[in-house]
Symmetry: D2
Subunit: 254 residues, 4 copies
């Protein structure tokens, strides 16, 4: 292995160690965290979660990737099926897609009414503020990729039989409806970025860079002091707090 | 049976019929309702619920009287265990005590911290607005009794072996801490009475009157038009919408 | 009120008191009970439950009347949605209809396959033995009415608008398919009557008698010693342990 | 990369592809599977699960690693909290430790009574037969390692800060109580190995070999015909169906 590779491995190990120490501290204090991972199809959510959970405790970490709602659930309060997976003391829950479905895939594909979608954006800041004020740490990542990269990944997915289970009927329209997804993303980020629950945007075209940046951000946010202070700030070209100006200034893929 | 008794029975039957027709309409449209019943010990919550559910469908009506939280639940988001009982399409859920525990019994007896209690009152208007805006009908009743009546009922409870299961360790302090409960009630009503989710106060010293008034109110709120329009307004001395002035003007027991 | 009425009221009160004392004892020891109520349409299950729960604790008693399964539930293990309602320490759970749907209404109306129904009857003895050996008290009542009485009740139901919510689409065929229901009942009772979990049959044509007999049986089965010993044995013409000979000997309605 | 490495990678890819095709077939037919992974501390359960789920669908696959029961759960039916995670149509659920806790860790460490443990072993064959006869595929793996290998892994765990979250208080006694765990394992395997739900034993001292053998076994058991038929039988020195003679003949570590 080259020295360069050695160095990268050492850096990755240090980040993983930070996650381990963070979870140890959380288990000791009872701190709870919800991590939301959103992004277009093929943005790298699954892989990011595998990296995040590499060394975490299987008993204190839960990854939630909900199937489509049952007929009964469709008649319930929209938030109900998400709330039932929220963390108990000391737990980290990672949502692989989340309540933000209503502001993304549902908007673009008409799976709910415009009124429901508008209601969602009206509700989300208050809902998330409640979570945060109850002491739950809520960290929301938007994984952003550009159109060509998504195209490459979706093609690779279709050509690689090992990735067959990642293919969804919606993949087919991800490129065709690219602009609609962009508009939905912009409205979602603008409407749900709040002081209590800000969005962290991640340029995810380069997977490893993105994952390192995400871990760095997590450690700085929820790590115990000695961990948080030693982690260097993620590269601002890779990971940055959303701000309205980011819409249209080229930092988010169009 | 005297004519007077006949008349009363006929009136009660008409009210019960209204509830039946309301639930039929809800089942047809998928409308959902949450009814919250709060009040001091012995205010008549259990009996009211028996009257309300007398002729309702056992499959579309659920009465929720949660036991004390488990150790795991105590580490979860406060609202989580309530949310898991919310109604599906066409259902009525009646909470026999509810999330308002945090603003009542917990305040008076120190079962949670003042910070948690303050947070609760800060959160509840937004939370309930979300419910209401999602299309759930939320109706909150405060059953109010005066101090002597509570004393009589708690004594009767202690003397009647059939009521032994209604006795809780907190009964013993209900009279001693009367003023603390009054203060908690006032703060709770004032802090959680909103245009979206107003409190309806019910003078419950006379049980039958109170129950009739409650049904009338429900029918006018959630009954189909033809039911709602025919029900006479509850006597305002028995049932009235909370308003801040009610604190101290003698309408709520002190 | 006549002396006779006074006597009956006193007897009913004594039975209710027995239930109260039973639940007090269960709460103290952590004992758990499941009560299953089965019977044809209009056999009196709802009313029996109201009588049983008249004075029981709303927090330690749960009545479970499940709505039809969701699409997701239909793909799950048949027993799963029932198991999720089983009692915690000190609780009584009353099933208003139960897993026995598969041996009754589903058989007669073809809601499941004959193979599934046969599997159910093969499984149920082992399943219930597990429950019983885990320390849960399981008491199963079959409320039996004769054909004319069902006819009267279903007619009364159709004519009484207060009972509108009790009407189900299946009522219409209850009389026409009387014999098929009889056959299903016989196969169910014969196939699931075991030493661990016997069926108790109740002649329910006379509602009050039936309810008193049911309470007596419960008290003798799950009451604390001093309660159980004082309760007289239910009239064997009203309540009797199922035995195969009961099929065809006239004790069960044909 | 050497040719040998290339070959191994190709073989691994073929196995992973088999898993993908298996899940595709299951999603199409609605087939359900429960995979139980048991074994001593450090036997390789977590790593095996990561390999199994490498390319599976996050929405149709659930990994269940339950935390210790809550106080409320401890009062419930033992099986209840496991049943609530059983698969819906088309799902694979992998239990990382399971109901078999009662026959292993609880026996050795006295976390339940001998009567409860005996009851468990009496119940488990019937319970699992019910699952299997309902159409759920149940596959149970015992990952077996020898004492020296466990010692090495537990030491490595203690020395590698990245593995800190894998350390449990019970690790400390795993070696000291080796023989008690052996006896518990033998009793568990002998008592719960049935025609419906046999145990598959895996020599897991060599991790990669073990994982390949496990995948091969799964594919032959639950793969669609064309997958199952092409997979070679796992090496019988690595993976073999339990039989009573295996206790004491040297195939299972002592």
């Amino acid at each position: 292995m080259s020295n360069d590779k050695d160095d990268k491995q050492a850096a990755d190990d240090a980040l993983q160690l930070g996650l381990v120490q963070t979870q140890q501290a959380m288990a000791a204090t009872g701190q709870r965290a919800i991590v939301v991972l959103e992004g277009r199809d093929a943005a790298g959510k699954d892989g990011t979660i595998k990296t995040l959970t590499e060394h975490l405790s299987v008993r204190n970490t839960r990854v939630v990737a909900l199937p489509k709602p049952s007929d009964r659930e469709r008649g319930q309060w929209y938030w109900q099926r998400y709330v039932s997976h929220f963390p108990a003391a000391g737990e980290i829950v990672i949502f692989n897609r989340s309540w933000y479905n209503r502001a993304g895939v549902e908007v673009v594909n008409g799976f709910s009414t415009p009124a429901e979608q508008a209601q969602f954006l009206a509700d989300v800041p208050g809902f998330e503020r409640m979570l945060v004020e109850s002491g739950i740490t809520l960290i929301k990542f938007w994984l952003d990729i550009d159109k060509d990269e998504q195209d490459r990944r979706l093609r690779a997915r279709r050509e690689d039989p090992l990735k067959a289970l990642k293919i969804s009927p919606l993949d087919a329209v991800a490129q065709d409806k690219w602009d609609a997804y962009t508009a939905a993303r912009d409205a979602m980020l603008a409407g749900s970025h709040t002081p209590d629950a800000p969005w962290t945007c991640v340029r995810a075209d380069h997977k490893k860079q993105a994952r390192r940046a995400i871990i760095r951000h997590l450690l700085r946010q929820i790590g115990p002091d000695k961990v948080a202070q030693e982690v260097k700030k993620p590269d601002p070209d890779i990971l940055f707090t959303f701000e309205p100006a980011a819409i249209g200034d080229g930092r988010l893929a169009r």
